[in-house]
Symmetry: C2
Subunit: 443 residues, 2 copies
């Protein structure tokens, strides 16, 4: 079974890099072949030739509830390559952990959900599958598809395993995800690059202007300096904040073992979990322009661009934040600088009520297999398409078999194999419980 997962992980399906388009297509074909093996009576590539959404319809089980399984076969770029102990697309087991880009986010978890079906024999549920290839790039293709064909999400429940336990041996179910606003901020100060000997002292420098602008967009105390940004932010309830304080989360361990920095940063007066789960962020991802090759070039850059993103929280709206960021950039740039913002992709934040009976069944499955039920938490990350998947009214069950130290999006991403084997048993049991004709589980 491990060999088959390794084969899936070997495919460098980096959706955000056009050079990997063919690899994304190969990963989609791998998923389609799996679905056929599971007896799906319909398997189709939808909406895109490059990053197709893999659609599957399992065997018909009259009278049984319908479960829609969502996942993604695309992965984040692997750089910086130099920091991987073993190459990102040569999956390697060390100390019971499988190291590879996509091992936890999300190929390994998709694999877990699918193998749990095989393990259950043919589980007594009507299965639907939407396994997409653009989750790391904004899910545009799937968004468009669901707008045109909302009936694809008609189900009694939606299951997503793209998350992690909140701590080892503490399975979790997620009540909220942050949204995302990914943008490029560009400045131009002159028509072309200039020689710093000839012009230095009198000519504007695009990098200097960009750096000053970015420095003003977020204050040293962590406050994002975008007018109106915090207006829609809904603070978690007292009960929720109190529950978070009881979680097995120690700030010192988080700093030392996971962030591995000298200090945590962020907005004062809020706990770490609140900063991670319930407050917006502004991050600079990279800065382009000027001279960045080896060696030295004494150029005054005429243009510079920063890749940045904000994470959004309930009840912020992507469209509003885009307007606010564009206005802030315009306001902060001096008159002699042409500044612009290009929006790359994004997602509204998501909130999920966990009152539906299916959540009780998942809790039971974890309790039986792992020895502890699911604790409700939030996530700092984003799965752009979650709100759209829940639009038909079906509960979206956000859970997963990852661990907090899986290093998603970073070098040396990994999946603990024990989590994988446990996970297969958990979801096998969940499918069985759901299909046992539990009337509550049907809408």
């Amino acid at each position: 079974m491990l060999r088959e997962l390794v084969e899936f992980l070997r495919i460098p399906s980096v959706s955000t890099l056009p050079a990997h388009d063919a690899d994304c297509r190969r990963a989609a074909e791998w998923v389609a072949a799996e679905l056929r093996r599971l007896g799906c009576r319909e398997v189709a590539f939808l909406a895109s030739d490059v990053h197709p959404v893999v659609w599957g319809v399992g065997p018909d089980v009259p009278g049984a509830p319908t479960l829609l399984i969502y996942g993604h076969y695309d992965v984040q770029p692997p750089d910086p390559l130099g920091e991987w102990v073993t190459p990102p697309f040569e999956p390697t087991v060390r100390d019971g952990k499988l190291f590879a880009r996509g091992s936890a986010d999300d190929k390994g978890q998709v694999f877990c959900l699918l193998r749990a079906i095989a393990a259950a024999g043919r589980p007594p549920v009507n299965l639907r599958f939407l396994i997409e290839g653009e989750e790391e790039y904004g899910s545009r293709v799937l968004f468009d598809l669901l707008r045109r064909e909302p009936e694809r999400t008609r189900a009694d429940a939606v299951l997503i395993a793209d998350m992690a336990y909140v701590a080892p041996r503490w399975p979790a179910v997620y009540t909220a995800l942050r949204g995302l606003c990914y943008a490029e901020i560009s400045v131009r100060t002159a028509q072309s690059d200039l020689h710093s000997g000839e012009f230095g002292g009198a000519a504007p420098n695009a990098h200097e202007e960009l750096v000053r602008l970015l420095g003003r967009l977020k204050r040293p105390d962590g406050k994002i300096n975008i007018p109106g940004l915090y207006a829609a932010v809904k603070r978690p309830s007292r009960a929720e904040l109190a529950a978070w304080r009881k979680l097995p989360f120690r700030e010192a361990d988080f700093l030392k073992q996971r962030v591995r920095a000298k200090r945590l940063t962020g907005l004062k007066g809020h706990s770490v979990l609140e900063r991670l789960w319930a407050l917006p962020t502004f991050e600079i991802h990279g800065i382009m322009g000027g001279f960045t090759s080896d060696g030295a070039k004494t150029v005054i850059p005429a243009a510079a661009t920063a890749k940045v993103s904000l994470r959004l929280v309930p009840n912020q709206k992507l469209k509003t934040v885009e307007r606010q960021l564009a206005a802030a950039v315009k306001r902060l740039a001096p008159k002699y600088v042409s500044a612009s913002v290009k929006f790359m992709h994004g997602a509204d934040p998501a909130q999920v009520r966990i009152t539906h009976p299916a959540f009780r069944l998942l809790d039971q499955a974890f309790r039986e297999v792992v020895g502890r039920g699911t604790v409700p938490v939030r996530a700092g990350g984003s799965i752009p398409v979650v709100p759209a998947l829940g639009r038909s009214g079906a509960p979206v069950i956000l859970t997963g078999i990852g661990l907090p130290d899986d290093r998603l999006h970073a070098p040396n991403e990994k999946l603990d194999l024990k989590q994988l084997w446990d996970g297969i048993n958990v979801f096998r049991r969940f499918y069985e419980l759901l299909g046992r004709g539990n009337a509550d589980a049907r809408s």
Copy 2:
């Protein structure tokens, strides 16, 4: 003749990029072949196999003065490539101008000096040549050579044509050059890159810290915020400032035709020429780290590096400025950020007294050929090795045939062919005047 220059310019001898080492060697060989054609009794590659200094000794002319000709065969990197109308290493004539990287800085001018020798027949001067291949990268090889073998600079005068007229039809002689301090400022905030969903709001971001640090190193009003930096700066004399006001320099034209920006920037209370020639600068050239490929990656970078440089003016010292920059970076970085400065290359500023009789002869040559003598000015750029070339006491004649709009170090660098043909006649005449046994011209 043009065809031969084109052949020289075709060689992409970018000294700062290791990928072009073989090209640098080819350019050195081109120069050596030229020197042999001029009858040099000694031609040698000195000090480096990769970027050799080409040394030449012309025919012996007993009793005649000795002139050392300095130039460089290396060029700046050509990026951004997309902004060149024709490719940088496919020299093209348009409208009487030869467009190519190195056409003005400095291959075209080296060509001019050498062809003027041929044009003079065998001029009655003892010629020495030091044509180096690391001028754009700090001249380290030549520095070391001159420290070991200072006798190479023994001459009655040193001639450098790496400069420009101060305006069309206004030949110039240069009394000062700015120095250079090229460095990489690096910050590290964590052991490896982190996922902005998982960690955003609580983890430090290397780009954010670098951007804030760079923003503090120079204030919006142009003042460089490095303690002690301005202490050694010697203001130009009243007479010099008054002379600059009489030069054919119009701020509005400089902005519109050359800088091509919306506004000039820089330290208030100083004229543009003072800012360009007599004040230090701080420029950001590029920023590395994080994610800068196509597409989107939601990473919190753990490390970031900026390429920066300062131009230095009399009487600043490179070593002192390096210490000051390192101290300022250390002081400005928060405690939880590891910040460091790596010094890449540099040069002390240079000052030249123009009282030696050879300057009069150059003035006369320009007057005869171009119709106007040389006006004394300064330059904002740097030729790192100038102080070392003058250490034996010989006057360093800094002049050239470029024009202010040649776009050195930038896309679409060019040389006006009229300037080249005039220049050949000017230097031919200068060699003749110098060699006419003018006793004053000998030390």
